[in-house]
């Protein structure tokens, strides 16, 4: 679905070059839920912005659903196929009415007027925001805003969703709302690439990708990657609290049978540690 090979990218600022992608190689299968982790400045967002051609290609190759991102004639097809949601919900609205905001993307892509209300209805239903058609997005809570932003992208019916730290600005309730929406979309078969700083969110993924210094340094199922202290240390991430507890307990002579990724699993393991 997404094939990136040896991507390189440098930002220029006041005559200096800052390399943010340096041989970034990753492939994402159709229907997969991938979480990308890495510290500030590791290149996660730069990669995400390549996926729907927001940045010009500088080196390497990238195809999205078989289309070459370097080929300008594919631009609008790529953006229709790969929808993107950003960190700050307040920066993503173009209208003061929810349904108008959702219609904006559809009109841009030339969707027939008659079809627009149906698409909006369906997208709002998917994110659990039916009934908010006439509301103002600016007066909603953070989690609601972010779900409207996701609905705006869903209405265009993309195959792939790229979510760049969409929960970073939300309160715990908003985060739960957005994460359960993302999980539902994944279950319905959407391909999802989610960038996050919260290692707990990576537990939900099919595959975790660790990015460091502009390239992928490790990838695999959460149970493998998130329990490997060496990998985590190398990319400057802290382990989930349950993994930290597993190693701290082990150092104190309390050996659990397996390294837990959820709090429930930790408690289960601890209660039968004999």
């Amino acid at each position: 679905m997404i094939q990136a090979k040896d991507l390189t990218y440098s930002y220029r600022f006041e005559g200096s070059k800052y390399k943010t992608l340096d041989g970034f190689t990753l492939s994402v299968r159709s229907g997969e839920f991938v979480v990308i982790l890495g510290h500030n400045g590791s290149g996660k967002t730069t990669f995400a912005r390549h996926c729907n051609a927001l940045l010009p290609m500088q080196g390497g190759s990238l195809t999205v659903s078989g289309m070459d991102v370097g080929n300008k004639s594919c631009l609008w097809d790529i953006r229709r196929t790969c929808g993107m949601v950003f960190q700050n919900p307040d920066n993503q609205f173009v209208s003061s009415v929810v349904e108008e905001d959702l219609a904006f993307g559809l009109r841009n892509f030339g969707v027939p007027e008659a079809e627009i209300p149906l698409r909006i209805e369906k997208a709002l239903e998917t994110v659990g925001m039916s009934g908010f058609e006439k509301r103002s997005p600016h007066l909603l809570s953070g989690g609601q805003k972010q779900r409207i932003a996701i609905a705006g992208v869903l209405a265009v019916e993309p195959e792939i969703l790229v979510l760049d730290e969409v929960t970073a600005m939300l309160d715990p309730q908003g985060r739960r709302e957005v994460l359960s929406t993302v999980q539902r979309l994944h279950e319905e078969g959407k391909t999802i690439v989610m960038i996050s700083h919260y290692i707990e969110e990576a537990v939900l993924a099919d595959r975790v990708v660790m990015v460091h210094d502009g390239r992928v340094v490790d990838e695999g199922p959460p149970a493998e990657i998130l329990t490997d202290m060496d990998v985590l240390r190398r990319v400057g991430m802290l382990p989930p609290v349950t993994v930290q507890a597993y190693y701290d307990l082990k150092a104190a002579g309390v050996k659990l049978d397996l390294c837990p990724l959820t709090m429930e699993a930790l408690v289960e393991e601890l209660c039968r540690s004999h």
Binding site: Y18, D171, Q173, H197, L256, M263, E264, V267, C271, S273
Partner: protein
């Protein structure tokens, strides 16, 4: 008492059709050297509260006192407040504007009547406090750094004035895990050096590990106010009110549900680990 709020209410756009009550009869006293975590859902009045304490908003009714003086009284010298209270707003990195790091960090010192050497010394200390080497960064553009680094420069600009009271609005949102950890360690160091700290955060883990006292707001009123362990271990109550529960507190509750007695107020990782080791050893015997 450095900060006292007496029956403070605040209404946005009073007397119009858009009048919205943001704070409703809040009374609160914060003592010298406290580290207070402020929690609550989006729109509960947290940011309004800190803007009132910083004197950026005037209460619709009630009084705000800093060091025993009403900051909204006409005879009060506001420059005292500016020196005493430092505020780090959400995304402070958006407020950088100068051409060099040194000039940006020194901006707040302009009208304090300091000599050139004193200013330079204050900038050096502030940059070192947030983990930079003064000589390396002073002549660079603050805008050429990463998001996390920019945030530290912006905070250095507040610290340079050496405020006795530091107020931070969601200072760790958007920082990566190590960035969060080193930033919170900086707050601990400032706190140990005597700074009074008020930190707004949705991150219950960060508040549990660092704050001594927690204030929870709901729809403009005080919902809870107490010692951190006491407030943050009320898992069921907090969840019902849409407030985040920390991971250590959640694990402690799961263990209790298994019939294991946990110490009351287990909200910090070290306390949890100590008890889990004891549980594990007991079961292994």
């Amino acid at each position: 008492m450095p900060i006292t709020l007496n029956h403070v209410s605040y209404t946005y756009a009073p007397g119009t059709a858009y009048a919205t009550g943001a704070l409703n009869d809040v009374s609160l006293t914060i003592s010298d050297g406290e580290f207070v975590g402020i929690m609550g859902k989006t729109g509960c009045g947290k940011s309004t509260l800190i803007q009132l304490i910083a004197g950026l908003l005037t209460p619709t009714s009630g009084t705000v006192e800093v060091d025993g003086r009403d900051i909204n009284s006409p005879s009060y010298d506001r420059s005292l407040l500016r020196r005493r209270v430092g505020v780090v707003f959400q995304h402070p990195e958006h407020q950088l504007f100068e051409t060099t790091v040194e000039r940006d960090v020194a901006f707040g010192l302009k009208h304090l009547g300091l000599s050139k050497e004193e200013k330079q010394q204050a900038v050096r200390q502030a940059l070192e406090a947030v983990g930079f080497e003064y000589e390396t960064v002073k002549n660079q553009s603050p805008l050429s750094f990463s998001g996390g680094e920019k945030r530290r420069f912006a905070i250095a600009g507040v610290l340079a004035v050496k405020p006795g009271i530091l107020i931070l609005d969601e200072p760790i949102a958007g920082l990566d895990p190590l960035g969060r950890q080193s930033f919170l360690a900086l707050l601990d160091r400032l706190h140990e050096a005597g700074t009074t700290i008020l930190m707004i955060s949705h991150n219950a883990d960060a508040i549990a590990e660092h704050a001594q006292r927690v204030v929870v707001l709901e729809q403009g009123s005080l919902l809870m106010d107490g010692e951190a362990g006491q407030v943050l271990s009320e898992n069921t109550f907090l969840k019902e009110h849409g407030i985040g529960v920390g991971q250590a507190a959640q694990i402690a509750a799961l263990l209790e549900a298994k019939g294991i007695a946990m110490e009351p107020g287990t909200v910090r990782y070290d306390d949890l680990l100590r008890q889990m080791i004891a549980i594990g050893r007991r079961l292994q015997q």
